[in-house]
Amino acid sequence: MLSCKEVSKLISLSQDRPLSPWERVSVRLHLFVCKLCRRYRNQLIFLTRAVRHLRNPPHGLAYKLPDTARTRMERALAEAASRRSTENLNG
């Protein structure tokens, strides 16, 4: 029988690579008798589902580019663009 420590690693591992049949059976056997590890598994599944929301900004987090940065970038782009066109003319 695997320990909780080993099982916790396999639960995490199952999110990064498929478990072998033997690993799957061992985890399932352990989860059958261990309430804490069952909770751990469910919470890790929840965690991964939640963090994937951050790929697209979640509800209530509509970050905007600050105005100062916006102005700075527009200026930098315009300068670089004009430098390029001068170079092209001279080149």
Partner: protein
């Protein structure tokens, strides 16, 4: 020249989206701004190679993605962490010497509802930032950027995927613990 790639309109049309993308992955506003600006400048230089095959936004995000990965690579704080992690794993306080849970695992009631609260996301971001820096980088690249294990090891110079997986396991465990303490047990 395709008129949709007029650089003068980039900041207005894509600035917010790129900034959000960078911020979600870097957790550092001024660094996020810098990388977005670098992205625009790099895009300007590479404009002729933009064949209009993808959407302009997708093209810009692609450039930004590389800038972010470059940043993690250059920060170099992931080098030589393998041994530190092995040591940390041996002394993991979450388990007793026989590998049983030392800390309790609470029963989270209706975790899905947390996703609706802006405060939950603030706590989540905070929990990520309490990780040791190398674990935070790793976790963000894996979960938010969705990088695969082999690519991650290459970019971050981790010797074996096995070490990567051990570190990911530790990162997830720490974040779980932090969320439990700061959200699920405190509401």
């Amino acid at each position: 020249m395709n008129s949709s790639t007029d650089p003068a309109t980039w900041v207005t049309r894509h600035g917010d989206a790129l900034y959000r993308y960078a911020l979600m992955r870097l957790k550092n506003p001024s660094l996020a701004e810098d990388l977005v600006q670098e992205t625009f400048l790099a895009a300007l230089r590479a404009r002729d190679s933009f064949a209009g095959k993808s959407k302009e936004r997708t093209w810009l995000i692609g450039i930004l993605k590389h800038k972010i990965i470059d940043h993690f690579r250059k920060s170099g704080r992931l080098l030589q962490v393998d041994n530190i992690e092995e040591e940390a794993d041996r002394q993991d306080a979450s388990f007793d010497e026989r590998g049983h849970w030392n800390t309790g695992i609470s029963n989270w009631r209706r975790p899905g509802e947390a996703l609706e609260h802006a405060e939950f996301w603030a706590v989540f971001a905070d929990c990520i930032s309490t990780l040791p820096p190398h674990l935070a980088d790793l976790y963000i690249l894996r979960e938010v950027n969705g990088m695969e294990s082999a690519e991650l090891c290459k970019v971050l110079n981790i010797s074996t995927t096995n070490n990567l997986w051990v570190m990911l396991s530790r990162a997830r465990m720490k974040i779980r613990h932090c969320l439990e303490a700061r959200w699920f047990n405190s509401t």
